[in-house]
């Protein structure tokens, strides 16, 4: 059996990569990819910890919910990115700054 540490290291790495992507990338779609990485890092954690759970299943069920919600959120996000592209002709978040003027 693979010890729990391996899962945790992978998920921590994924989380950090996702967070860095979110912070340094300007393109809205790439930022959304970073968010997916963060969510999947949490999923790995949940499934890995699930083996120590007394009722065994809570973490796995949680990760299923997360996958569904991530899909819903991505759908809404993509629709909004399309609208942004329609109005601003770019998906670069730093160039989308009409407000605050």
């Amino acid at each position: 059996m693979i010890p729990i540490e391996h899962y945790l290291i992978v998920s921590a790495l994924l989380f950090c990569i996702g967070l860095v992507t979110v912070i340094i990338k300007k393109n809205a779609i790439v930022v959304l990819m970073g968010i997916e990485l963060i969510l999947n890092a949490a999923n790995i954690n949940l499934v890995a910890f699930s083996q120590f759970d007394a009722s065994r299943i809570q973490g796995q069920v949680f990760s299923l919910f997360v996958i569904v919600i991530a899909a819903a959120e991505a759908a809404v996000a993509m629709a909004i990115v399309l609208k942004v592209y329609h109005f601003f002709k770019t998906a670069d978040v730093s160039e989308v700054s009409d407000l605050r003027k």
Partner: protein
């Protein structure tokens, strides 16, 4: 052997689910009306627009009625019911907030009736998307009601996401450049903060082996776990809640979203998700922070967050020229004040939080209603456009003045009473803990109340003491057409504004009416 046990437990679980379903009738009612509006939208697309508003109001009134019935059924002393195998916790605290959420939603629907966006793309009397608007709105309410009942990490996550995704869609309902920009910023900030919260939750699950915050093993394992891990898990999870209440350092989305989104939606955002966020924060504080055994200074931590939130909100608000953007910073500052009540962790602190949130809902809805009325008149949300409006329309001017005085926290309005309760609960907490940070927080809180005076009273100052340089275009046209100047505000809106403002004065003189109501809520920190 094992299988038969599982089947048995499945049977009991099913019967528990069926039994629990009787206690979530308000939510079921709300969901039924959500579906009803969706079906209406398919049948009556583009016609019978009033039908949608009537249906939405009917649904909200029915839900409120069911909640009031639930309130009278739950005994004062009871700890509350754990439903759906400890997934949600139905107690008076939850019911109180659910009633508050439904009442705010009723006012939001009434406010949006006469709202017209700048380009005219969002106007409920003509828009084809009215069915979608109410569907998504009800989705947000359902999420907020679930969130105020949840003590289980899975339900907290689901409810927060339900609120968030509905909010992203509602933000975009002006369908113009500004609201699109607001919603892309909102969804990117929101996605990251909920992702970070989820990672924190997964760590909490790993540390405790359960997702249920009220479970005894959750609290035992939290107390036994190493400090650094609990700190990471706790702070990550806290981040998601701070995002919902738009508190520093997760407040960055608020100004842009408030400026870009349709104003009735902003009024809703400033009340409903925030109220739900504060309930879950209170439960989190009670079940998580208070259980941490080692010497973790979580009260100091929350105090620092509150101080930063207050300073950022109030000082940024001073420089704003757009009213909605100013209200965004003001709502950030108010989050700081309510956080003070949460970190006091006493029954008096809870009382002050409930009182403050209720009063805050009233005065914010009133302020946004008047902003909508004036922006329809002047076609702008700039503060400089408020010149001379008070002389032209004395009633609107006086109502705005009362709303702003209440937001500042001066007598004779309920805003003063609310701030008084918050600060006395903080003083009580300081006396019992002798934490110097709390004294500092008290000083900063009082100082910030003075600062807020400047930007809140700027609006009445412009309305009454600055002369208007130009008469408004819309006004001149009506002058030519009818031969006399007439008031362009809808009577309906004026009555609504009075209905919202009046309780602010009543609750100052008769604050014990609401207090007695709140006193019947048992909640243990």
């Amino acid at each position: 052997m094992e299988k038969s046990i599982e089947v048995h437990s499945l049977g009991t679980q099913l019967s528990e689910i069926v039994e629990s379903a009787f206690f979530v009738f308000p939510e079921i009612c709300l969901l039924a009306f959500l579906l009803l509006i969706l079906i209406f939208d398919l049948i009556f697309r583009q016609k019978l627009l009033w039908l949608f508003t009537i249906t939405a109001l009917l649904g909200l009134f029915l839900t409120t009625g069911l909640l009031l019935q639930q309130w009278s059924l739950t005994a004062e002393s009871s700890e509350g019911l754990s439903l759906f195998s400890r997934m949600i916790q139905l107690d008076r605290l939850a019911i109180y907030f659910k009633i508050l959420i439904c009442v705010s939603a009723v006012f939001t629907v009434l406010i949006s009736v006469n709202y017209k966006s700048r380009a005219g793309s969002f106007h409920l009397r003509s828009v084809k998307r009215i069915g979608e608007y109410y569907t998504v709105l009800f989705g947000l309410l359902l999420g907020a009601m679930l969130l105020s009942m949840s003590t289980h990490l899975l339900i907290i996550y689901l409810a927060i996401e339900l609120i968030s995704i509905s909010s992203y869609i509602l933000t975009n309902f002006n369908f113009d450049e500004r609201s699109t920009e607001a919603s892309i910023k909102y969804i990117l900030y929101g996605g990251v903060s909920s992702g970070v919260m989820l990672y924190g939750m997964s760590l909490l699950y790993g540390l405790t082996g359960t997702l249920d915050m009220t479970h005894p093993s959750f609290q035992e394992n939290i107390a036994a776990a190493p400090m650094i891990l609990v700190l990471f898990a706790g702070l990550f999870t806290l981040g998601g809640f701070l995002f919902k209440i738009s508190s520093a350092p997760f407040h960055l989305w608020a100004p842009d979203v408030y400026e870009g989104a349709p104003t009735p939606v902003v009024a809703l955002f400033s009340v409903v998700p925030k109220a739900a966020g504060f309930v879950v924060l209170m439960r989190y504080t009670a079940h998580f922070f208070s259980q941490v055994s080692f010497d973790f200074p979580w009260q100091t931590l929350l105090a620092v967050i509150a101080i930063i939130t207050l300073l950022l909100g109030n000082f940024a608000a001073l420089w704003q020229k757009n009213v909605k953007r100013m209200m965004a910073y003001s709502s950030i500052a108010h989050s700081g004040f309510i956080l003070i009540g949460v970190l006091s962790t006493s029954s008096f602190g809870m009382l002050s939080v409930l009182f403050y949130v209720s009063v805050y809902a009233l005065m914010n809805l009133a302020a946004f209603l008047i902003i909508i009325m004036i922006s329809r008149e002047t076609g702008s949300e700039e503060i400089s456009q408020y010149r001379g409006l008070g002389e032209q329309y004395p009633l609107i001017g006086v109502l705005m003045l009362i709303a702003m005085i209440s937001l500042t926290g001066l007598p004779p309005t309920a805003g003063f009473t609310a701030k008084l309760f918050i600060f006395s609960s903080l003083w009580e907490a300081y006396q019992s803990s002798d934490n110097l940070m709390l004294l500092l927080l008290l000083v900063f809180g009082l100082f910030n109340t003075v600062v807020s005076l400047f930007y809140y009273l700027k609006i009445p100052y412009f309305m009454f003491f600055k002369k208007s340089e130009t008469t408004f275009v819309a006004d001149r046209f009506s002058h030519q057409r009818t031969g006399r100047r007439h008031d362009k505000f809808y009577l309906f809106d004026k009555i609504l504004a009075i209905v919202l403002i009046f309780p602010l004065l009543i609750l100052f003189f008769k604050s014990n009416w609401l207090i007695d109501f709140i006193h019947t809520i048992p909640f243990e920190f």
